[in-house]
Each structure stands twice: as C-alpha cells, then as structure tokens.
C-alpha cells in the first residue's frame, strides 16, 4: 500500500481519450489522484479531429488545443512533454520514459525518468501504417497522424508543387483537400475501386469522387503503389500498371495500427490491440487501456465517440463506480472537407434479408440510402444533404420500428410523422438521450439540463458548460435551436449585435425587413423600424444607404448625406483635409497618353505627391477639394474614369502579363482582368472588393490574398475567394475550377452578388464567408447552376444603374456645392 495520502495515477499518452478521462475524473474527484502524464509529442493535448482544418488553414493550432498549459497547472498534473514511455515495470509498479530527440535529430540531454504508479492508464494511440514499398523511407514521405506531420506538410506545400496521397479513405481525402487548399497539385492513389469504401457504398463513393475531382484533385482508383522513387528525396510514385506520378511530397494515409509495443513488452495481453474488458481493464487489474490502442469487445476503434465512452468508463472506475461498462455501438462518420457533405452510419452492405430505400436528386447532387432489416434502420449513407443524418442515426441506435413511416422515411424528419417544418420544433421533439454533438458525445438532455439548471443564455455559455458544438461546430444550429426552444423569446438568437445605438436590430434583421416590408427610403425605414434617433448616426446611415441601393437597384435615390465623405466627393480624404485621386487603369494597364495627361495634371494643380498603389494604380495625393472637379475634367478629357479607390465597392483588378508576354503564362490573365474590371466597376458592395488574376500558379498578381482571385492554369481557371492581406492575413479559399473565361465571369459575378446581398456593411468577403460558411457559398455558386445564374442576372441588372463615372458627372457640375465655400467673408472689414 502506498504511503502517499493520494494515489498516484500515471497516464501514458496525452491524446483526446485520456484527456477526456482526466476531465471526467477531475469533475467527480478532483483530489483523488496525483496525476503524471507522459506525452511523446512535445506539446499539450489537442483535438486531433481538427488537424484537417489546420492543414487547410481554416484553424490555427492554438484553436484546436483542448487543454492549455494552465489546465495542467490548475489540476496539479505533471506533464512530461516529448517523453516517450519505453518501459512499464509491473513488478516495481513504475514506468520509465526517455526524452525524444528534437526534430533536427539532436538526442535529448535529459536523462530518462522513472515514476511510480498505483494506477496506470495506457493510451498510446496508434501508428500510421507505412506500406513497405521501396522508397517508403525517403525524405518527403509523410504520414498524417499528428501536428508534426501537418507542419511538415505545410512546409512542403509552400513549394506549391505536386503531392501524391496514398489512400482514399477519410484521412487521405482530408489530407488531399488540405494540401490542395495550400496550393499543391494533388493526386489521390487508392487501391480499391471506390473512395472511402469502408464508410460509403459505391454510389456515394462515385459522387464523392466526382466532387473531389471537381475541386481539381486527381483521383486514381484501383491503383496499387509499386515504389516510391527519388534520389536523396522523393521525386515520384510508380504504380504497378506502369504509371509514374511525379511528386514533391507523398502522404501515406492507408490506415492505422494500435500502438501496443510498450504494453506487450510489459507482458500485458494483446491481440489486435491491448485487450481490455468492458471496464477497460487490461490483464493487469491496475492497468487500464483506452483509445485507439485498446481492443474492446474484440474490436479496435478509431472514431471519437466510442473512445470518449471508454474515457468515461475509466474515469468511473478510478473513483470506484463500477456501473458503466463498454458496449460497442454503431458509429457515424462525417467527412471534414468543406463543400462536401457526407454522412454514413451502420452497416450498408447488401444482403438477402435486407431492404433498401434510395433517394437520388441529381440536380441537387443528393443521394440517400437507408438499409433496413426487419423494419429497422441498420445502415444509412447520405451525400449532399446530410441534415437528417443524426435523425436516422438515432433511430438506428435505438432500433426504432419504422414500418409506419416507410413511405416518407427517406425524405427525412420534416416529412415524417407529421412533425412540423419548423426546425426548432423538430429539435424540441427529439428525446433527451438523442445525441446532438457527435464529437463530444453530448446528448440533448445534458444540454437542456444545463440551460435550465445553470441558467445558460448563449451559445458560448452552452459550449463552455457542456462542450456541445465546441469541437467541429457542425451542430451549432441544433444547439441554438435548443436554446431557442427552451428560452423562447428571451433567447436572442446568436445574441444579435445591434447595428448601432439607434436600434436593437442587427444588420441581418434590418436587411430582411427592408425587403419584407418594402422599405424604400431611409426615413421610411427609421419610421417603420422605430429608430430611436431622429435621423440615425454615422454608423447606421451609410449601412442603410448601401442596403437600400442593393435591395432596390435603379429605384432608390442615393442619399449623399448618408455617405462617408470619401464616397460623397469620390476621393480619399487625407489627414490635412486634402484629397487623393486615383484614376482607373483597367487591369493595371496604362499608356503614354494617360501618363502624359497625369503628368500635366500634376504640374497644373501643383500636386505634391504621386505614388504607385498596391493595386497597380497611380495615386495623386494632396489635391485641394476645390481643385477636384478640375482634376477630374482633365482626367476625363484623357479618357480616364474614377478608380473608386475610395469606395466600398469594386476597387482594382490586379493582373500579371499572362500569355501576352510571359513565357510561363497559361491564359490571357491581363485580358481577363480587364474584362472583369469593365464588368464590375462601379458596383457598391458591403466593403471594398479587390481582385487579381494571375496567369499561372507562380501567382505574380498575388491573387491568393485577394477578396476574389483567379489563378489561370492550363486546363482553365481556379477561382479563389475570401483572402485578406490587411489587418489580418489570410490565403484565399478555392471556390472552384472552371474551363472558360465566360464561366469565370459568371461565377465571380454571382459570388459578388451573393456577398452584396448577405454581407453586413463593412464586412469584408473573408469575414462574410467565415460567418455564413465557405461550404454554403461554394454550393450556391459552383454546384447550383440555377442559383448562380439568378445571382449573376441580379448583378448584371444592378450594374446598369451603377456604371456612371462619378468624376465626369461632377466635372460637369453635379453636386457643385460640395466643392465651393457657401460664402467668402475674407475681404470684409471688421465691424466697428
């Protein structure tokens, strides 16, 4: 018996499963154990499920940390980072760990440590399977398992070269999508005839393959890797059919194998994994195993839900609660690739005693298949619209008899059993033990209980207290509906931020009401929506003016007094009250005539500074307000129009010289840039919009940090969006690939219109995209042709009223009062 007051608990491994077990343990018995953790990785516990968003750039490592350093301190946990357990001595009841070499290969100077235990948890996880083909150990061949792999991939992706991913399962496809998002040219090599064959039936596998290919990733099925080749580092992959694939990076994602070496050496019983009973005990009763290394009920597990269930059981065991026991149950899978909705659960193989119900909707790209046995769902595969996945899965788990609703079952919950279409009502109708958050295993009852018991009022509070929707976030909508169902009107959905102090309404509500109530002027809006001030403020008026322009094109009369000064006088105010003038240069091209005119204007108006902008334009700074109409008249005479460098609207389209001059150019990037700029100039948008078109992936026009960017490649055009290079720096997301200039222009017009209609005033495209979801945008623009054309048509319609050169108008006398004093009293003598 240990002489310690506290028992000593040692944990080998610091992944998600042991992290969860400790969390549960500290909830119920915070002081029961003195805990020591060994982590072979040199870091804290993080959400391994979210490695794919880190790879694709959607999240940073900090965002996926589950337990920061503070958590270990708070709970008195000793965490050894970068320490790999090499020996478990069951006689002496100690474990010994060696510190792993640094990534540069320097051996660690720290001597091994040996720590005694009373209870031991083995959570060594799994190792990636490396196929032993020749060349598998070349530099540049990686697995996809932990953050080190992701960092190595991100580094390799900087070359924007070619990557081959071996394995078309869940991990392989996530890796492929991530690498492609990082700009690599990716080929997936898959041994089986269809992708993700363990989770998908062949039909869904084909739909998936088509979607993957549509985003520019090549897929080779029935492809067997013969060798990885290269001199000194990887240069390519040879398949056994003779194909050679050049590659700068090879990722092997063919599966995982439980890591049980240290347990085996300690004489603990192992089979496929470390064998445990339903209480998670190994053959040594003081040693538990859980996570991917454990074999329970004859199975090993790789998805998070059963691993968390194991964690709960271990936590219960540690405090002497023996009621919980492990039952392997069906698990559901979702693919975490933005733009691809995929859900599968249970067993969907065909067999004699099984029936199936299939729904296909080719135009919407929807496929659903339910496999029934004895009127009960035993398997479900969904592609496209996966919203009913949890509902089907819930019935699958509880073995619900579906005989009564077979007719409409496949259409989902909204059509079944007279459940109303109101989504909140549908969620309210779920039983308390229906799972809402798959990542964290949170059921409805726990959420509603926390809302009621703790008086929670917001999504963030629910996340903090229950962890529901705190990981991948895909159940956020359901959690919000629960909040709404329970709190009724007191729940302010998404805790709406009012536009400004003049109203309690948020931007989205105001926009919706403008259309719904047909509010056609700012005074009418303020009246109808009960504005609290007589005529708004400097925050809401410019926003409302924009919303009116966007909602009622050609009809609404612009209110110049609700415009910020730059848009009112069509120039940028400077710190001394002078202005800067930037004429448009289509696609960044200019001419001797234009340059000569600019030079003359600079001389004539004694303009102090002339500068080239970041958007390939010429900026004349320090123009007095009274001189603006004169400057514009002269620019107009030379054929130049406003560059809208002051506008929440289309700014510039940057280009490189493309096939006109460049020996690497693949398309006429300059020509396309000019076309886009001529098509889009004059449009008003929620915030500024900057474009660029690069003629090849070398990307000299820097298109991948723009609001919208085009990268020309041999086969056509990659359309990117949602980049930023200002306060925040963010690479773009791929919207999709198209073959022709016409399709590029249609997609970009539609995208811009969607942003115009949904963006909140001053919200840049990348923020809008983050708010509404890249996936929904992609779906509407790239997959839903009807929606795309309707958006495009609305953009074209509104452009006919927008494309008037404001400079020419003002040079001809419009708004003359703006540019002259109303009176000059300088010559008056002092009154006596």
């Amino acid at each position: 018996m240990a002489s310690h007051a506290k028992q000593r608990l040692v944990v080998v491994g610091n992944g998600m499963a042991p992290g969860r077990a400790l969390e549960r343990l500290f909830e119920t018995a915070p002081d029961a154990y003195e805990v020591t953790i060994f982590n072979a990785e040199p870091r804290v516990n993080y959400d391994r499920i979210m490695l794919s968003p880190v790879l694709s750039g959607d999240k940073s490592f900090e965002e996926i940390v589950i337990h920061g350093d503070g958590w270990y301190v708070k709970h008195g946990v000793t965490l050894y980072k970068g320490a790999k357990v090499t020996k478990i001595d069951r006689e002496a009841r100690t474990v010994t760990a060696e510190f792993v070499p640094s990534r540069s290969g320097q051996p660690s100077l720290q001597p091994p440590v040996t720590v005694p235990y009373d209870k031991l948890i083995v959570a060594t996880g799994s190792n990636p399977i490396i196929i032993p083909v020749p060349g598998h150990d070349l530099p540049g061949v990686l697995s996809y398992r932990d953050l080190d792999d992701v960092e190595a991939m991100l580094l390799a992706a900087k070359s924007r070269g070619k990557a081959v991913v071996i394995g078309g399962g869940l991990l392989g496809l996530e890796a492929a999508a991530g690498l492609q998002a990082q700009g690599m040219d990716v080929t997936v090599v898959h041994l089986m005839p269809t992708l993700m064959e363990r989770q998908l039936d062949p039909a869904a596998g084909h739909l998936l393959q088509r979607a993957i290919e549509a985003r520019g990733i090549k897929v080779l099925t029935r492809a067997n890797t013969k060798a990885i080749v290269g001199k000194g580092r990887v240069e390519g992959v040879d398949l056994d059919n003779g194909t050679h694939l050049p590659a700068d990076l090879v990722v092997m994602a063919v599966g995982i194998r439980p890591n049980m070496q240290v347990a085996k050496e300690a004489g603990i019983t192992v089979n496929r994994g470390i064998v445990v009973d339903a209480m998670m005990r190994t053959s040594d009763p003081d040693i538990f195993a859980l996570g991917e290394c454990a074999e329970a009920d004859g199975q090993v597990f790789g998805l998070v839900a059963p691993l968390y269930e194991m964690a709960n059981i271990v936590a219960c065991q540690l405090v002497g609660d023996a009621t919980a026991s492990f039952k392997s149950s069906a698990t559901a899978t979702k693919l975490k690739v933005t733009g691809i909705n995929l859900y599968s659960a249970g067993d969907f193989a065909e067999a004699k005693d099984r029936e199936e119900i299939v729904l296909r909707d080719a135009t919407r790209g929807v496929y659903r298949r339910l496999v029934l046995k004895d009127n009960r769902i035993i398997g479900a595969v969904m592609y496209g619209d996966t919203s009913d996945g949890p509902w089907f899965f819930d019935m699958l788990k509880r073995g619900t008899d579906v005989a009564d609703m077979r007719e409409t079952l496949i259409f989902g919950q909204n059509y079944a059993g007279g459940i109303p279409l109101d989504p909140a009502a549908a969620v309210a109708a779920l039983p308390d033990d229906a799972e809402i958050c798959g990542c964290n295993g949170v059921c409805k009852g726990k959420i509603t209980g926390a809302i009621a018991g703790l008086g929670l009022k917001s999504l963030d509070e629910v996340r903090a207290h229950t962890k529901a929707s705190a990981s991948c976030g895909s159940c956020t909508g359901l959690v919000e509906q629960l909040l709404k169902a329970q709190l009724g009107d007191t729940y302010n959905p998404a805790a709406v931020q009012p536009m400004c102090g003049c109203t309690d309404l948020g931007h989205d509500d105001v926009r919706r009401l403008i259309v719904a109530k047909e509010l056609r002027s700012i005074p009418q809006l303020m009246q109808e929506l009960e504005w609290k001030t007589s005529c708004g403020c400097a925050k809401c008026r410019p926003a409302l003016n924009y919303y009116m322009i966007c909602s009622w094109p050609g009809e609404y009369v612009d209110d110049s007094q609700s415009r910020f000064i730059n848009e009112r006088v069509h120039a940028n105010i400077q710190k001394d009250g002078t202005y800067s003038v930037v004429p448009r240069m289509w696609g960044g091209q200019t001419s001797a005539k234009e340059l000569r005119a600019i030079a003359d204007i600079v001389d004539k108006y004694k303009i102090p500074t002339v500068k080239v902008t970041g958007g390939q334009r010429i900026d004349m700074l320090g123009v007095a307000k009274e001189d603006l109409p004169g400057v514009w008249a002269d620019l107009s005479a030379a054929g130049m129009v406003s560059g809208h460098a002051y506008a929440k609207g289309l700014r510039t389209v940057k280009t490189c010289v493309g096939t006109d001059w460049c020996r690497f150019g693949t398309q006429d990037s300059t020509g396309l840039g000019v076309k886009l700029e001529k098509f889009m100039w004059g449009s008003w948008t929620p915030a500024k919009v900057k474009l660029a078109v690069s003629g090849c992936p070398r990307n000299c026009a820097e298109a991948t940090c723009k609001d919208i960017g085009v990268i020309c490649i041999e086969s056509g055009y990659d359309i990117h969006f949602a980049g930023a290079a200002g306060l925040e720096i963010k690479g773009t997301e791929l919207l999709g690939h198209v073959a022709t200039e016409e399709e590029t222009i249609e997609a970009i017009g539609a995208l811009t219109q969607l942003y115009r209609e949904q963006g909140r005033y001053l919200e840049r495209i990348y923020k809008w995209a983050k708010r509404v979801g890249l996936e929904t945008i992609r779906q509407q623009i790239m997959e839903d042709g009807e929606r795309r054309r309707a958006l495009y048509d609305r953009f074209v319609f509104s452009q006919q009223f927008a494309q008037n050169d404001p400079w020419a108008e003002r040079a001809n006398g419009k708004d003359a009062h703006e540019f002259t004093p109303v009176a000059d009293l300088t010559l008056r003598e002092a009154a006596e």
Partner: protein, 109 residues
C-alpha cells in the same frame, strides 16, 4: 453694443443634414443644417486632430468627424461620449430662409 448680423446665404444652399463652409479672414466656419432645418456654426476643426467637421455626417444635433469618428455637439462644439475637447461655436440667426452670422466673425482671430 450688440454686434450687427451679416447675411451669409439662403438656408437652401446648405444640404439637409449637410454642411457648407464659410471662409473668414483667419479660419473656416462650418454651417450645419439639421434634418429639422436648424442651423449651427462651428469652427471647421475637430478638437481632436483638426479634421474638417464640414465633411462629416450630420445626425440629430451632432456631426461625426470624418477623420477619426469623434462626435461633436453642434450646439456647444463639445465632443460627446468618452472624448474630451471643444471646438469654437458661433451664434447663428435664421430669418425668412436666410442664414446670418455676427459680423465680428469675419475678422475673428
């Protein structure tokens, strides 16, 4: 002795919820017209960084400076909210649709 008033302009030459500038010997005066046809006169310099208040958005009896969004009271010239500072204000008279300033402002320092 009461200072005589000088006629500056018709009120309609100032946009509703807008502003026009009057030049005097030593400064610029911004003449603001509110939504309810009141007229106010401030020196055309924000107390913060001398931004031209005449270019700001006029709302209620306030103007928001175009440079850094300070909100200045048209009645007193004082910054509102958390900001502190005051710009000069001048008396204005409205008579039969015309705007008058005190004659002394023409040469005020």
């Amino acid at each position: 002795m009461e200072s005589p008033w000088i006629e500056v302009c018709p009120i309609d030459s100032i946009p509703l919820r807008g502003c026009r500038v009057v030049r005097t010997r030593h400064m610029q005066i911004a003449l603001f017209r509110t939504a309810s046809d009141e007229v106010f006169a401030l020196e055309n310099r924000c107390p913060h960084k001398n931004g031209p208040l005449s270019e700001g958005i006029v709302h209620d009896r306030k103007v928001t400076c175009p440079l850094h969004n300070w909100v200045i009271s048209l009645e007193s010239g004082e910054a509102t909210g958390a900001d502190k500072g005051c710009t000069r204000s001048f008396p204005v008279r409205l008579d039969k649709g015309h705007v008058y300033l005190e004659a002394s402002v023409a040469t005020a320092p």
